[in-house]
Every structure is written in C-alpha cells, then in structure tokens.
Amino acid sequence: MKRFGLMTGLIGTGMALAGALPALAQEAAANVTAAVVASPAPAAAASAVNAGDTAWVLVSTALVMLMTIPGLAFFYGGLVRKKNVLSVLMQCFFLMCAISLQWVVFGYSLSFGPDVKGLIGNLDWAMLKNVGFEPNADYAGTIPHQVFMIFQMMFAVITPGLIIGAFAERMKFSAFVVFMVLWATIVYDPVCHWVWGIGGFVRKMGALDFAGGTVVHINAGIAALVAALVLGRRLGHPHKLSPPHNLPFAVMGAALLWFGWYGFNAGSALAANGLAGSAFVVTHVASAVAGLAWATMDVVFNRRMTVLGLISGAVAGLVAITPAAGFVNVGGAICIGLGAGVICYLFVTFVKEKLGYDDALDAFGVHCVGGIWGALATGLWATTTVNSAGANGLFYGNPAQFIIQLKAVAITVAYSGVVSFILLKIVDALIGLRATEQSERIGLDLTDHRETGYTVLD
C-alpha cells in the first residue's frame, strides 16, 4: 500500500510522502508509536518492523519466485515443440540466476536507489550497501529493507522472462544471455525507477500501478513484439508448425502462475492487512472472469471451449488486474477480467493473424495488450473507497486519472519499444540473434544445450 499509495498522493500536489505517512503511521500504531514511522532515523525505524507484514512479504516473494520457475517455464515450455522444451525451461531458470545476481550487484540500486533527476537510481545501494535490516520508510515502513529488495527482485526476474514467449524456438542462447542482461539493466531498471522509485517521474505524475502493469507487463510485452519483429518468423510459420507439445504442462504452468500471482498482487500491499486481502480477492476474481470470457469467445467463434483458451484467458485476467489490484473493488475486477478475456482473445485471434508477425506464445498479445487494458482500466474503476491513498478513476468522477494512466502507458511503450529495438540490433550486429536454420530445424535443445527433453530409452 505504501509504495503505490504514495504514488497517487503525489498527484499535482507533490505532497505524496507527507500525505501517505499518516497511513503508515496508523498501521504501525498497533504495535509501536506513530512517531517511530515518521522518524527518519534508521535506528528508530528498526523497531517499526512488523512480524506479520514481514512474514507475508517473505511468503509473497517465494510465491512470485514460483511464477518464473516452474510457473512461466512450464506454461511456455508446454506450448513449444518437443525439440525446444529445454531451451525455454533453460531460459527461465537462467534468468532466475542471472538477474538475481544483477539485482543485488547494481540492479536494485539503479531501480530504487537515491534518485538522479527522476530518471534512474544512483549506485549508493550497489552490492546492497545501505540495504539492511532496517525498514526504508519511503518504500515499506514495516518490513526490513532487504525483504523489500528481494520481493522486488522476483519482479525483475519474471519481467524479462515474459519476453521469451515472443522469440521462443529461434533465438540463439548466447544472444539471449547478452540481450537479457542488457535489457534488465537498460530497460527494466530505469522504467522500474520511473514508476516505483522515489523521485521517479512517472510516479510523480500520479500514475497508479499497484503491482506492475506498466513496469512488468507492458514493458515486457512491447519488448516481446519488437523481438518478434526483429527476429522474424519461425520456419514454417504460420501454417507448417506443430501444435503445442504438452498442453498439460501449460495447464500446470498457468495454474502455478495464478497461484504465484497472489504474492505478486496481494504481496504488493507490502503488509498483511486489509488492502492485501482486497488485492487477493480482486486478483482471483479477475482471473476467473477472464478465463470464462476467453472460453466463451472460443464457443462463439470456434464452437468449442479449448483448454488453451481457458488458461490463456485466466492469465490475461491476471495481467490486467495487476495494476488495478490495490485500487478497485470486486465490481471493477469483474469488468477488468471481462475486458481482458474479450480484448486479448480478439487481438490474438484476429489482429495478430492479420498483421502476420510471429509472437510465438503471445507474449505481446496477452501481456502488452492485457497490460494496457489493465493500466487504462485502473484509470476507469479505481476508487478511494478501496484505497484511500489511491485515486478515483473516470467512473468515480475523476477523468484526469485516465489521462495520467494513458500517459504512463505511452511512456512505457515508447521507451521500452525503442530501446529494446536498439539493444536487439546491437546484439544482432555483435553475435547474431537468430539460431541457424539447421539449428532451428533440429531444435535448440540439442543444438544450444546438447540435451534433449525426452528420450525413447528407459
């Protein structure tokens, strides 16, 4: 609540911090004196650590970890062909390792460290210097700063992971590694700072993004589209590709994503409180409704519900509710879920087909399109009755919020789109992005990793 509540407090007034502190204080008052929270002295703040809040954010961190591996890994892994299943699992697992290291060495500092002109954090917190047991009241006043740091780490890991869906089955692993480390540093960290970092300029605009609609989903989703365009289509696309090799994997992955998303969204309250409960409820409801909506669209256009449709819808709903989770009530969640299922379905079914690019697993169609819908919908259905530190949306008498949301979306799409394009071109020039045609035919499992996912031998 603190993190995002603050964001809104800033609208037009620049009083966010001051405005939200009483809320922090109120919560803390249950256990400690309010004065402690307001105090800038780290020693005093240390006593503000709340056991319940800390426990919940630690559990949430583990839940969000689970979203990347095995959640996203198996969701994507099941949707590719047999010969590429390991390459996708490898990419997800590799990101968990690589970005975790990047995050503690300098990524966290760039994202959340002391502000430089509203654009980026400085390196004061590199190697987690100054990130210790004491809470940082700017971000989360009742949990140790390190806990906030590692919770955020899991977001930094999964975001590049989402892009994998676009270039699956054809990107060289070496190029993947170089691109992802660059992308995490030059795209994710700055955008994260703009939206969530103290002093970040999008945050100052008053944009609402509870758990990462812009930072995570739109950011990754637009990079995914650019990657699909730069890499080009897979051999045989669109009509000569085998179907998903293991839909049960995809179902398991989607279910784990849904499960982990409770940590993603409800954990973003950064406290074990009513707002976390509310975020949990609307997250669940939006996902359920979006699954039903996509499945219904399937019946309308294809006469049958499909398993892949149902789970795709549920994931689209989770994407869309992410920015809104701390600001909307259950009515808003139903509308957002419905919109996510219908819009993402129409996009993936008709628009993608028409445009002809090969977003292999619909990373753009689900995460960017669903993310944009969610970010804008937050500007429609947000209400201060859910989160007094938030803002009202268009349907609650504040059309200005919708415009702010629109701006935040446009900024993210423009920056991530352009810089992702440049990074891909640089990596392409340096080492080449695309696997050779022969590798692609044989499959990346064998050519990039010298392993196969399945064998006929016992």
Binding site: P238, H239, K240, S242, P243, P244, D298, F301, N302, R304, T306, L308, G309, S312, Y345, V348, T349, E353, D362
Partner: protein, 113 residues
C-alpha cells in the same frame, strides 16, 4: 513364415490381443503411431489457430507367424478390430525371410513359436 503388420484403432487393442491369444498367436510387438487414411482427421485448434496436420492416433501391431497361423492371426485381428466404421485400419502380410531367437540362436520356424 509371414510378417503381419496391422494398423488398428487404439481402442480395439485389448480385443485384438485377446483374440490373438485365443488363436495361440503370442508373439506381438505393438507401437503407438500416427497415421491417416480415407477418413481424414480432426483439425486441432490452438488459440483460434487451426493446425493443418491432421494425423490420427493408431496402434501398429507387428506379428511374425509360421504359415499355418497366418489365417488364424488375420481372422483374430479382423474380428477384434472391426467396428464397421471408416478408419478401422489395414492388415499387410509380408514374406519373412529369416527369424533368429537371440537367447538360443534357433532360426526359422522354430524361433517364431
């Protein structure tokens, strides 16, 4: 000696095996295969994208028999696999040049039994 290859519907497998056993034909190798015949297949749809390939699941039986058992084996497979619908499958009968039992080194008709 003959080598019988039969392509049948997967759900007829148990019935065919029972009838082969009743006809004293014990040697069978079975594998799960994909194939198509005149009946075509069922188009699959993934995220509204229709897949072109439409092979259907079948079982392939491979049976080596001495000449005396050819008729019985064919009758057992036919009786067990027939539903009367398109897609019941095919039986191919090939001449078998040699057969060697690996454990004993026996060859020919002795080895099949």
């Amino acid at each position: 000696m003959k080598y019988i290859v039969a392509i049948i519907q997967p759900d007829r497998m148990d019935e065919v095996l029972e009838r082969l056993t009743a006809s004293k034909v014990h040697l069978v190798t079975a594998s799960s295969v994909m194939g198509r015949g005149r009946q075509g297949g069922i188009a699959q749809v993934y995220r509204s994208h229709k897949e072109a390939g439409n092979l259907l699941k079948k079982m392939k039986l491979e049976i080596a028999v001495n000449d005396d058992y050819v008729k019985a084996a064919i009758e057992a497979i036919t009786a067990g696999a027939r539903t009367g619908e398109v897609g019941d499958g095919k039986i191919f009968v090939l001449d078998l040049e040699q057969c060697i039992r690996i454990r004993t080194g026996e060859t020919g008709g002795e080895a099949i039994g």
